[in-house]
Amino acid sequence: MHNLYFELTQELNAEGVIAVLASGQAVVYYRLSIMSKDGDWILQETPEACRRALAVLERHGARYRPSPPLDVRWLRGGWSSHFEFADPEGRRIRCDFVTRPPRLSPEDLSKLFVPEREMGEALKVVDIEPLIRMKQTQRAKDYPVIGELARLLPPEQEIELTTDPDRIIALASDYGQGSRRSPVRAVLAGSSREAVVVELARESDRLQQQDRARLEAYRVAAEPYLREFQAANLGLLPLPEAHRHACELAERWLPRNLLIPEDGNGAAQ
């Protein structure tokens, strides 16, 4: 059987590109690791894209998981929507959608759905550099993957994103002169390998803490809405009905815009 998440990507884009596969399944696509049971997509931020995605999900018998509605009014505030269904073999399929993924700039996002990109590619998958930025999460296990993903980039980009101290040491003299990364500066200053490793660890920890703070703000803001969502058992309702109710609840209980400033790249959440 094919990877169902790849097939879903094709299905979502059957009438024109609205969804780009990201995160764990993108890592599978780039043949680095099989590490995710869920599918994550960056959705085009339009009502039409939401409508089409909901139609695809409904065809598969999906139900809402406790999460904000798949509606641009909340998606543009950095919220994400989550769904679940069983595949023909009874396996759990989880589908997550976001239109404003963390740490991606408006420029990154604007490149995803340009007409030129729609031509020629069999499967719509997020590019490696934005994928790396999405992977800069609070989870330690994402950072070795970032090192592997970075190896697929040209060296001048790799040195700005890799988490591998040996690659930084190898690339610094040729490609790191203009870099502001502290691990790269450490190499160029003649510091020990241990010092480079320490700088990398500090950098990863800072990224993890930023992501944790971002998600905590969303968690707190979502609590009243989620309580109502659970009380109404929306996860048990057919998708169109659940979606309608979720929008009604969100209007009352979920703030639309929670985008908070973040250091680093672009208009992240």
């Binding site: 997550d96 800069q136 999460t137 969502f229 659970q230």
Partner: protein
């Protein structure tokens, strides 16, 4: 003889069909941990620890 762990599968040299099979087998096996999966997945928000319906947040038992 090459001894490879699951994490060292040479995905790059697989044909598309082999990659599909490898993923399919892994996905089958991974179903066994569905009930114990952490509620947080990757960089988007999967909310967890939702209070029971009808319970006031001030009455939550966080122990």
């Amino acid at each position: 003889m090459e001894l490879l762990s699951e994490d060292d599968l040479n995905l790059k040299d697989m044909t598309p069909e082999e990659l599909d099979k490898a993923w399919d087998l892994w996905f089958d096996l991974a179903q066994t941990t569905n009930d114990s999966d952490p509620p947080y997945t990757h960089g988007v928000l999967v909310l967890c620890d939702v209070p029971p319906p009808g319970k006031n947040p001030d009455e939550r038992d966080d122990t």
